[in-house]
């Protein structure tokens, strides 16, 4: 059975930005997501150009919610650790909830996120983390996207302020990476 993929909202936004929610569905054959991520996704889907995010329900199904007091407390503790000064108080709740549910239920899967704080805690919890670009590169290796198209996705995401793999600013560097 393919590995379970749990995304956060950053990854969903990125796939919607390149208009490839269909590709995300093929990558996350076995998918799940948490309720706070679904809530963030619903809000993001109302923004211009991100309507296709609503499709995430078809990919990831009924969201998982914290079921116990300890999962809620763990979520709050992780959110405190993930936060940075100046951030909105709701920021990182989706990531914190995902980490709490994955660790407390010993879910064997990968957490797909571009939140740079997440790997610190995920590492401690032995949860594997991949980024949008890890998924896109895997899609290329799986023959779903050719290199030129992937390069164009990188440009689109960079122009939209969505970041990218460090150091990949030239096509030659990208070709070596991909």
């Amino acid at each position: 059975m393919p590995l379970l993929v749990l995304p956060d909202n950053t990854v969903l936004v990125n796939f919607a930005n390149i208009n490839r929610m269909d590709l995300l569905k093929r990558l996350a054959k076995h998918g799940a997501w948490c309720a706070s991520v679904a809530d963030e996704c619903e809000r993001s889907a109302r923004l211009p150009g991100l309507k296709s995010m609503a499709y995430a329900y078809e990919i990831f199904g009924v969201p998982l919610s914290p079921e116990s007091r300890s999962e809620h407390i763990l979520t709050q503790a992780f959110r405190t650790r993930l936060a940075r000064p100046g951030e909105d108080k709701y920021r990182h709740l989706g990531e914190a909830e995902t980490l709490a549910i994955m660790s407390s239920r010993s879910i064997d899967g990968i957490f797909a996120t571009d939140d740079k704080s997440v790997p610190v805690i995920a590492n401690e919890l032995k949860i594997r983390v991949v980024t949008t670009f890890d998924l896109l590169r895997a899609a290329h290796r799986g023959g779903m996207v050719d290199a030129d198209t992937l390069w164009s996705y990188l440009q689109t995401l960079r122009q939209g302020g969505r970041g990218g793999p460090p150091g990949l600013f030239t096509r030659a560097a990208f070709d070596r990476w991909v």
Partner: protein, 334 residues
């Protein structure tokens, strides 16, 4: 959240997400921790603010409260993140005299260091704060002051907030009258600490020259205006010299009459120190340790230091090798 979803969550047919709980807590003005556990959050901060007296309304107010809120939340986050490193509890003195003894001789110039070293009391100094604040968290006292370059005001703030901590004042549930009384008590504490009655009474006010006055004002770390107020409070008739200088900038008195043997420009140096962003060493060390242990990201430490997170190089655990693209493709069944 729809009424139907809320109703199903209350009846246990579905759970609350973390975001839903956070929004309900906001709506109710409650702590999320309280909603989850039914117990008060042990890491909830109860800040006390230094209020200014509004001559028009006759009430004590914090004019920059809204702007300060975001800064206070950020400082609170830094302390909440460091909570697991259990910073040693502060030694809160019982009286101004005890505080004076604990802080040691000539404490005013190195006031912040003495608070940290002698009492385990933290001081955070930040630009854009409109006034001073203090709070206790797990036995650790913290004072926040504006980094405005005005060391006279800053010293008074430090002493005033220490007074709040000594008397265990907390703002949120206090009435106007009670708050007024707290502010009087904290100001009286500050006056006793910085300008002790005996020391002020024993000064040869009649024979004092402008040079002598400048020397005292420098050592006491207060403004000429604060000195005049203190003299009146002690029922000492205002000496001509103090009366002449109380409405003038203290720095003018110092620039004209203070004779010092210190190298460089100590007035400018003191101003620059009072304008510097500063976080206590104990808090920074707690974050540095937690980052090295892989318990915290470095964003908050970078913010405390006023540097970019990406440029900040501190000890961090080595991360495991990421999954290779082929391994990931295979795990995903591609």
């Amino acid at each position: 959240m729809t009424p139907d979803a809320f109703s199903r969550a209350l009846s246990g047919q579905r759970g609350f997400s973390a975001i839903e709980l956070a929004k309900i807590a906001d709506e109710l003005g409650a702590d999320v921790h309280y909603l989850i556990t039914g117990e008060p959050d042990p890491l909830r901060l109860r800040m006390v603010a230094r209020h200014n007296y509004d001559l028009v309304t006759g009430r004590r107010v914090v004019r920059g409260a809204d702007q300060d809120r975001a800064i206070l939340d950020d400082v609170a986050l830094a302390y909440r993140q460091a909570a697991e490193s259990s910073l040693p509890a502060s030694t809160i003195p019982a009286t101004a005299l005890d505080a004076c003894t604990a802080l040691g001789e000539r404490f005013v110039r190195p006031f912040i260091n003495r608070l940290e070293d002698n009492l385990n009391l933290d001081v955070v100094r930040l630009p854009d704060l409109s006034t001073s604040y203090s709070f206790m968290l797990s036995g650790r006292g913290v004072i926040l002051v504006p980094a405005d370059g005005n060391w006279f005001y800053q010293n008074w703030c430090l002493a005033h907030e220490l007074g709040h901590l000594v008397y265990g004042h907390t703002d949120p549930e206090t009435s106007d009258g009670e708050r007024d009384q707290h502010e009087h008590v904290a100001d009286a504490f500050a006056a006793d600490l910085l300008l002790p009655g005996d020391a002020i009474r024993s000064q040869p006010w009649d024979r004092m020259t402008a040079e002598d006055l400048a020397d005292r004002v420098w050592d006491w770390g207060i403004s000429t205006k604060a000195l005049a107020t203190r003299l009146r409070a002690l029922h000492i008739s205002l000496p001509r010299l103090v009366d002449e200088w109380r409405a003038q900038p203290t720095q003018r008195l110092l620039r004209k009459y203070w004779n010092h043997a210190e190298p460089g420009d100590p007035i400018d140096q003191r101003t620059a120190e009072a304008a510097t962003r500063q976080f206590p060493l104990a808090l920074r060390q707690a974050h540095t340790t937690l980052i090295a242990e892989g318990r915290l990201p470095k964003g908050t430490l970078a913010w405390m230091l006023g540097v970019s997170e990406t440029m900040l190089e501190v000890d961090e655990p080595t991360r495991p090798e990421p999954m290779s693209a082929d391994a990931l493709a295979s795990a995903l069944g591609l």
